[in-house]
C-alpha cells in the first residue's frame, strides 16, 4: 500500500505542460510531460538540462528561437516531433535520443547542430529542409520506419560521421539537395542505404561505408553526385543507376557485391580509378541504350515529369543536362578489376568480352514496346595494372 501511494504521489509530481509560448530564457529539468504545442519564440532560449526526459502525449515542440538540449531523451507515441525553424548555429541538440515521432527532428532553414544523437523508432528520424545549413554529426539513425535522414528542399547541410542501421525504406534520402558535406557515414542493413534523386542533387559523397545492404547507393532521375573514397562491400548491388543518373564514380572500393554497378535507362556515369574485387558482376547493364535515349528519352521524361500532383498534364519538363556521351558506351576506363579479371583482360585484350561485365556484348538488344534497341557496351579499353587501395583490393 505504501509503495502504491508512493507511486501515485510521484506520478502527481511529474510536471505536465500545456499549450504555451516561451518568450524568454526558460529552463526545463527532470521529467516533463508535454500535452500541447510548445513554441519557443524568436529571441528566446529554451534550455533542457542534461538527463531530462521529455515525454510527448499529443504535444509538440517548435523552436523558432534557440534550443540547448544535451543528453535529453525525447519520446512519445506517434507524436509529431521537434521542429527547429530558422534556428541559428547556437542551437544544439546533442547526446540524447528522439524516439516514437512522425519526424524526430524537422529542421526548417537555419543552421542548428544535431550531434551524437540517437534517432530511433520514428517514421523519419531527421528531416532537413528549406536550404538549411544544419550540421548532423556523430549520430545514430536506427530502425526508423521510413527514412533515417531525409535531406530535401535545397538543404545544404553537413552530414558527417553518422551511423545508419536497419531503417525501413532508406537509410538516407537526398532529394533535390546538395549537402555541403556528406562524409564518414556508415550504412548497414537497408533495402536502399542511400538514395540520391532528382535534378539538383549533386553532392560529393566522400569516404562513406556501405555494408550488407540490398542496394548500397541508388542514384536516379537526373541526379549527378560524385561518389568517391567509399567502401562499398557485401551488398546486393553496390551502386544502382537508374533513369538519367550521371554520377562520377571515382576511387571507391567495390568488393564482394552481387553487382558492383548496375546501370539502367539512359544513365551515363564516368567510372574510373575504382577497385572492383570479387563482385559476381562488376558492371551490369539493363534497358540501357543510347539509341533509345536519342529517339525516346526526352518524350518519355516529358510524359512523366510534366504531370501535376494530381496526375494531369501541367507544364513542359525541365530540360536536363545532356548525357556525357551517346555513342553507345559507358566510360569505365582506368579501373582495377581484380587480379583474376586482370589476367583475363591481359589475355583477351580490349576487344574481348570479359565475364565480369554483363552488357551489349552478352545481350546485344532488348525489346521495348515491340521495338528492338541495342544494349550499350562498357568501355574498359584501358585498365589499371594495380589496385587503387593496394593490399585491401588484391
Amino acid at each position: 500500500m505504501r509503495l502504491f501511494l508512493l507511486l501515485v504521489i510521484s506520478f502527481l509530481l511529474v510536471p505536465y505542460s500545456y499549450a504555451s509560448t516561451i518568450t524568454s530564457k526558460t529552463v526545463w529539468q527532470g521529467q516533463k510531460i508535454i500535452t500541447e504545442k510548445v513554441r519557443v519564440e524568436p529571441g528566446s532560449h529554451l534550455v533542457i538540462e542534461s538527463g531530462s526526459t521529455i515525454v510527448f502525449k499529443g504535444g509538440s515542440l517548435e523552436v523558432a528561437g534557440r534550443l540547448t538540449a544535451r543528453d535529453v531523451k525525447f519520446s512519445g507515441n506517434k507524436w509529431s516531433g521537434i521542429v527547429l525553424k530558422g534556428c541559428g548555429l547556437d542551437t544544439l541538440v546533442a547526446g540524447g535520443e528522439v524516439s516514437g515521432a512522425k519526424i524526430g527532428i524537422q529542421v526548417v532553414g537555419g543552421e542548428p547542430r544535431l550531434e551524437e544523437m540517437t534517432f530511433t523508432d520514428n517514421d523519419i528520424g531527421v528531416e532537413l529542409r528549406q536550404q538549411t545549413e544544419a550540421t548532423v554529426a556523430g549520430s545514430a539513425f536506427l530502425e526508423n520506419r521510413k527514412v533515417g535522414l531525409f535531406v530535401k528542399d535545397g538543404a545544404a547541410a553537413a552530414i558527417l560521421n553518422n551511423r545508419f542501421e536497419k531503417n525501413g525504406r532508406y537509410g538516407a534520402y537526398i532529394f533535390r539537395s546538395t549537402p555541403r558535406r556528406f562524409s564518414g557515414n556508415v550504412f548497414s542493413h537497408h533495402e536502399t542505404a542511400l538514395m540520391v534523386a532528382y535534378s539538383g542533387s549533386n553532392p560529393e559523397l566522400v569516404d562513406n561505408c556501405f555494408d550488407h545492404n540490398k542496394t548500397a547507393i541508388r542514384v536516379e532521375k537526373a541526379a549527378r553526385p560524385l561518389i568517391t573514397g567509399s567502401d562499398i562491400s557485401n551488398n546486393g548491388t553496390g551502386i544502382s543507376l537508374y533513369r538519367r543518373a550521371d554520377p562520377l564514380i571515382e576511387n571507391n572500393l567495390l568488393a564482394q557485391n552481387g553487382i558492383g554497378i548496375a546501370i539502367a535507362f539512359s544513365s551515363y556515369p564516368k567510372i574510373s580509378n575504382n577497385d572492383f574485387v570479387d563482385n559476381e558482376k562488376a558492371i551490369y547493364l539493363e534497358f540501357q541504350s543510347s539509341q533509345w535515349e536519342q529517339s525516346k528519352g526526352a518524350s518519355a521524361r516529358q510524359a512523366e515529369s510534366s504531370r501535376s500532383a494530381f496526375g494531369s498534364l501541367e507544364k513542359a519538363s525541365t530540360e536536363l543536362a545532356p548525357p556525357r556521351n551517346l555513342d553507345g558506351t559507358i566510360d569505365a576506363r582506368q579501373n582495377w578489376w581484380g587480379a583474376t579479371a586482370n589476367r583475363e583482360l591481359e589475355k583477351s585484350g580490349a576487344d574481348g568480352n570479359p565475364g565480369f561485365i554483363d552488357d551489349g556484348r552478352d545481350r546485344p538488344t532488348f525489346i521495348e514496346e515491340g521495338k528492338e534497341y541495342p544494349l550499350d557496351r562498357v568501355d574498359f579499353s584501358s585498365w589499371r595494372k594495380s589496385a587503387v587501395f593496394g593490399g585491401a583490393a588484391q
Binding site: 509560448t21 523558432a64 525553424k85 530558422g86 532553414g109 537555419g110 528549406q130 530535401k152 500532383a309 494530381f310
Partner: protein
C-alpha cells in the same frame, strides 16, 4: 449546293441538335460573371466547342448577363468552353475585361448545368506580370525603425485575397539593408511583406513573424519609372491575434461545404492531409478552396464560397511538386474527380483514398 451542305455537315448536325434540345427546353448552362466579387451585368458569354489554343472560329453560341450578372443558355449535350468578356469605357479609356471559365471544358448532358461564378479580369493586368523596362517599385522594409533583411515583398494585383496566400503576381527578397526593387509593368498594385522565422517564402505566418500590408495601397506604377514607396513598416504577429484571424479566415465554417474522410488503401484514416477544391478540371495551380489538415480520425471539412462543380484532390503538403514520402490522392467517385456542390448545403462525400509516393 450539295457541296456546301457536305462541307457544313457538322455545323448542320449541331444546329439540328440545338433546336431538338431547346424544344425539350432543358439542357444548357447557367452561371454568373463577376467583377471582383460583384456581379457583372451586360457582359458577353461566348460558348466555344474548342479549347483556346484551337479556337479560330466564331463562338458556337453567345448570350449576355442580366442585371445580376447571371446568364443562362440552352445548348445540346456536349462539351463546351465558356469565355466571358466585357468592354468598358471609363473617361474615354477603353478597358477589356475577359476570362476563361476555370471549369472549362464543361460537360452538358441531361439538364441545365450550373457553373460556378467566375470573375473577369482586365486584360494585360492580371495573370503573369511581364515587367516593362525601367518600371517598378523601390522601397525599404523596416521593423521598429530598423531595416529588415531577407524578408519577402509580395505584389498582388487585387485585394480580394486579403493580400495573403499564394495568389501574388510577383515577389522579391529584401537586401541586407532592407531595400527592395521589383520590376513590374505599369499598373495598379497592392503590396504586402512578410518575414518568417524559417526564412521561407510561403506558408502560414506564425506568431513572432513579421508581417504587413503597405498603408499606401494601391500603388500606381507608371511606365519607365521606379516608384519610390519609402519605408514600409512591418509588425510582429501576435499569437492571440493570429488565432482570431485563423478562426475568421479560410477555415471559417461556411454553409456550403464538403465533408468526409481521407483514408489509405486499407481504409485507415490518415492524418495531416489537406483537401483541395479546384474549379479547373485539370487541377493544376492554386486551388480555389483548401481544407484544414485532417486530424487523427482522417475527417475533413472543406468550406466553399459558392456552389458549383469542383474537382477534388488531397495531399499532405500545401503545394509545390510532389515529394517522396508524400500522401496524395483524388476524389474518385467520378473519373474526372468532380463533385457538385449545392449552395448552402453541406454534402457528405465518399472517402478520398491517398497513397504514399516514393
Amino acid at each position: 449546293m450539295l457541296k456546301m451542305l457536305s462541307q457544313n455537315i457538322p455545323a448542320f448536325i449541331l444546329i439540328v441538335l440545338l433546336f431538338a434540345c431547346t424544344d425539350s427546353g432543358e439542357t444548357g448552362l447557367q452561371g454568373q460573371l463577376l467583377s471582383g466579387e460583384s456581379p457583372l451585368s451586360g457582359a458577353s458569354v461566348e460558348i466555344y466547342l474548342k479549347a483556346e489554343k484551337d479556337r479560330s472560329t466564331l463562338p458556337f453560341a453567345t448570350t449576355s448577363t442580366d442585371e445580376n450578372g447571371n446568364y443562362q443558355i440552352s445548348l445540346p449535350a456536349g462539351r463546351y468552353f465558356i469565355i466571358g468578356k466585357k468592354k468598358l469605357n471609363d473617361d474615354g479609356q477603353t478597358r477589356m475585361l475577359m476570362a476563361e471559365c476555370p471549369a472549362n471544358p464543361v460537360e452538358v448532358s441531361e439538364s441545365v448545368r450550373s457553373v460556378a461564378p467566375f470573375p473577369l479580369r482586365e486584360m494585360g493586368r492580371d495573370g503573369a506580370l511581364v515587367p516593362e523596362p525601367q518600371t517598378g517599385l523601390v522601397g525599404r522594409l523596416v521593423h521598429e525603425g530598423k531595416p529588415i533583411a531577407n524578408a519577402f515583398v509580395y505584389i498582388y494585383t487585387e485585394a480580394e485575397s486579403g493580400l495573403m496566400g499564394p495568389s501574388y503576381g510577383e515577389a522579391t527578397r529584401s537586401e541586407e539593408d532592407g531595400s527592395f526593387r521589383i520590376n513590374l509593368p505599369a499598373g495598379r498594385f497592392f503590396l504586402a511583406a512578410r518575414k518568417r522565422a524559417d526564412g521561407g517564402r510561403m506558408g502560414e505566418p506564425e506568431a513572432g513573424d513579421l508581417n504587413g500590408t503597405f498603408p499606401g495601397n494601391p500603388v500606381v506604377v507608371v511606365s519607365g519609372q521606379y516608384l519610390p514607396v519609402g519605408d514600409f513598416s512591418l509588425a510582429k504577429i501576435d499569437a492571440v491575434e493570429r488565432q482570431k484571424r485563423l478562426a475568421a479566415g479560410k477555415f471559417d465554417q461556411t454553409e456550403t461545404r464538403f465533408e468526409g474522410s481521407v483514408v489509405n488503401r486499407d481504409g485507415q484514416p490518415i492524418e495531416g492531409i489537406y483537401v483541395f477544391a479546384y474549379l479547373d478540371s485539370r487541377m493544376v495551380g492554386k486551388p480555389t478552396h483548401i481544407s484544414a489538415p485532417t486530424g487523427s480520425t482522417g475527417r475533413y471539412i472543406l468550406n466553399l464560397g459558392e456552389g458549383g462543380t469542383y474537382y477534388l484532390g488531397a495531399r499532405s503538403t500545401y503545394g509545390g511538386p510532389l515529394e517522396p514520402g508524400e500522401w496524395v490522392g483524388t476524389y474518385d467517385e467520378k473519373a474526372d474527380h468532380s463533385v457538385l456542390a449545392e449552395s448552402g448545403k453541406a454534402i457528405a462525400l465518399a472517402d478520398i483514398v491517398v497513397r504514399e509516393v516514393w
